[in-house]
Subunit: 100 residues, 2 copies
Amino acid sequence: MTLIIAGVVRVPPENLEGLRPHMLVMLAASRAEEGCLEYTYAEDIADPGLIRVFEVWRDSSALDAHFQTPHMTEWRSHWPRFGVSDRRLFAYEIASQRPL
Amino acid sequence: MTLIIAGVVRVPPENLEGLRPHMLVMLAASRAEEGCLEYTYAEDIADPGLIRVFEVWRDSSALDAHFQTPHMTEWRSHWPRFGVSDRRLFAYEIASQRPL
């Protein structure tokens, strides 16, 4: 079953520019994974430094594999240096999808 | 059934600051609606001016009502002036949800 991953992490706004290149690496590497249908980071319009994560995965095995990748380990290794915190993500199983 | 609305609209990056106050009005008014569980706008980290929309609604009747609100009409009335374009949204029916 298709899965959406959605939620947030927070970075001090003054650290966002330093973190950005590492985010771009993580985006590219994740999008290249088997079963990754969408993978995005975006900064909240109303709350600077609040990073909104949105991902779509073909199924749970693709998502499970994502957590075992070297780029996931590397991405998280940068978090302490840039003060990334408040990770809060949810996995949603998708029953249907239609253009709105 | 719970619904996620997710997708994008685009604004020329130089128009984002002018559009921002109207986005804040739309966020506040939508979040106050019956059945609105989440309503967010965020700017893509890799693509300036690409606005990522993420919403969660209790059910389709709440979502239907959202499209009939005065703040929706007002929000869209600002689009031509700020060059908002490329609206591309999807509605997903949610079968389950869990923290990740």
